[in-house]
Assembly symmetry: C2
Homo-oligomer: 349 residues x 2
């Protein structure tokens, strides 16, 4: 008995395909994905994809105490916007960048990424577009797309729906991990701008907007952009500007902590990196909010407290800096093309 015999066409009874699972489509997708993933490989990747596991060189000879930093995430209901707008090529990039930022705020550099793609009915073209987004995101962040899983789950997802999850693993020198005990009252909060919702708050945004607008609507406040354009802006990766800073400034004396602004907003996320005795004093009027947030707030008559809890409101990453280093850090960021904003301070509770 060889493979070809097992894959003969069946003539009667219930077949795997009739049960809603199309193994051939899965194999077609894997063959289209392979070259995309391969483009992300570097000399540390020790295998082709398609094996039972992805293999990555685990030696870090240049480090004294390498620490592996990992994170798993999804894109929330931003995926519903991608599906409804029939634009599948950037949602994977959103997820990679989200994961990159999550380990970046621990000080880590990305090594490799694995994706999970589950759909009601596997559409090979959609799957290829999604994975192309993963691959582009990985390439941009110097990260290898080392593995993944494609699941066809009839009855769980509506036929055209799909969900994604991603896992990233990176590495950081132990002594360079941020230590919340370095954060002190008087530290300055330097915000790096987001380009929109990134990947958080979409359930609220969709509920507020989609009763009044369609995804191809052109609300005046967006200045010629469609709603889909504004909602599908790719979650920024802050890898390059932060790596640039970490080459010049020390975690102990200059940059005390970083926070990635996701669900929970500026306060929810940044509080996680403070010692218990400290709190945040945010000047909420110190930066211009992207127009999409005004549109959402007005459409849904959303209280300001909920806006602050659900959205990044224009700030995607926060650097908690020693007050004596803040100006030099901001100047370095501007040299790198960023527009840093001082959005507040750390204070005693």
């Amino acid at each position: 008995m060889n493979i070809e015999e097992v894959r003969e066409k069946t003539v009667s009874g219930l077949t795997y395909k009739a049960a809603g699972v199309n193994i051939d489509a899965g194999e077609e997708l894997v063959s289209r994905i392979k070259p995309l993933a391969k483009k992300t490989f570097n000399s540390r990747v020790l295998t082709d994809i398609g094996g039972f596991g992805g293999l990555f060189d685990g030696r870090f000879p240049e480090m004294k105490f390498p620490v592996l930093v990992s994170s798993t995430d999804g894109v929330g209901t931003k995926i519903k916007v991608a599906i409804d707008a029939n634009r599948h090529d950037t949602i994977g990039q959103d997820l990679v960048n989200h994961c990159v930022n999550d380990i970046l705020v621990c000080g880590a550099t990305p090594l490799f990424f694995l994706d999970y793609f589950a759909s009601g009915k596997l559409n090979v073209d959609v799957g290829e577009a999604v994975v192309a987004g993963f691959a582009r995101g990985c390439e941009d962040n110097g990260c290898a797309l080392i593995g993944g899983e494609t699941a066809e789950m009839p009855g769980m997802y509506a036929e055209n729906d799909y969900d994604l999850a991603g896992t990233i693993v990176g590495v950081v020198e132990k002594e360079k991990i941020f230590n919340r005990e370095n954060v002190t009252a008087g530290d300055v909060l330097i915000g790096l701008k987001s380009n929109g919702l990134h990947t958080n708050g979409y359930s609220l945004a969709r509920k507020a907007l989609l009763t009044q607008y369609k995804l191809d609507s052109l609300p005046a406040i967006l200045g010629g952009e469609t709603l889909a354009d504004a909602l599908l802006k790719v979650h920024r990766s802050y890898l390059r500007p932060i790596q640039y800073l970490l080459e010049k400034f020390s975690p102990a004396t200059d940059i005390h902590a970083l926070s990635h602004i996701t669900g929970g907003g500026i306060v929810g996320n940044t509080s996680r990196v403070l010692p218990e005795r400290l709190a945040l004093d945010i000047n909420w009027n110190s930066w211009p909010r992207p127009h999409i947030f005004r549109l959402i707030q007005d459409a849904g008559k959303i209280p300001e407290t909920d806006m602050r809890r659900a959205f990044n409101l224009g700030i995607g990453l926060i650097i908690i800096a020693a007050s004596s280093s803040a100006e030099k850090i901001e100047s370095a960021l501007r040299d790198f093309g960023e527009e840093p904003v001082r959005i507040g301070n750390v204070v005693q509770k």
Copy 2:
């Protein structure tokens, strides 16, 4: 502005909760999960969960060339059986064991695991049961549950539905990675028994069975077990018996390869670890199939070719052994409490 102010109750307009996302339930779940995950921690885990990333000691001083081996997977539509039977405490264990086996067949020992749990409406009790399953699976395999993501996605999943994904990272000494070029014609296929479907073929099984039976039915062939009992048997982890073998036998001379039998069946999975020029000769009558497979095949009038492609049919892992070592390997397996079966040979194409 401190956290308490941001979390004031809102009095008008559309709130995050009204949009279907309940941050408080998410926080309640995280607080219940923490002690479960902590039980899986060992001295190599360098952080509490709840940070932006999970931290794990990346030093392997006892190894010459450590290779990180990773894999992402889901449980397919077995999850629909868990949901419909309202039994959520073992499906996480299924996923951990599946992932453990996937890297085990590369020779790797598990280090850490991260989960993704997405639901239509977050039920804290269900979420806790699921994560308890992840934690039990991780503990059993000496693996740290180092991180995870809980997503509430109204509109994507039906209210009581949820999906899971998991990612495992393990490590293997480079020279101990199985090399398919060691596999030769005449090698013996030694099967380790499965206890049922493990996590594959559920779309076909459900379609075949659930038109005629209910999950609490007691089909005579199952000898007193309900259908739910038979379908929800926990995917076996083969970590302990295989580790026991790898201490005694060499990858180069005795054990040429391993394959984990998942979607694609015995032939589909085992062919992946053969050189191009070789094929499998399986004696399909050499082991007794668990009764659940007969029940499925009869109920759905499923052609044998589809049965072989969709299911493990009673063999969960295959050891490709040098013919001269096969008896010693089988004897060692019996000492360990396994019932190995010779299911065929490697042959020239």
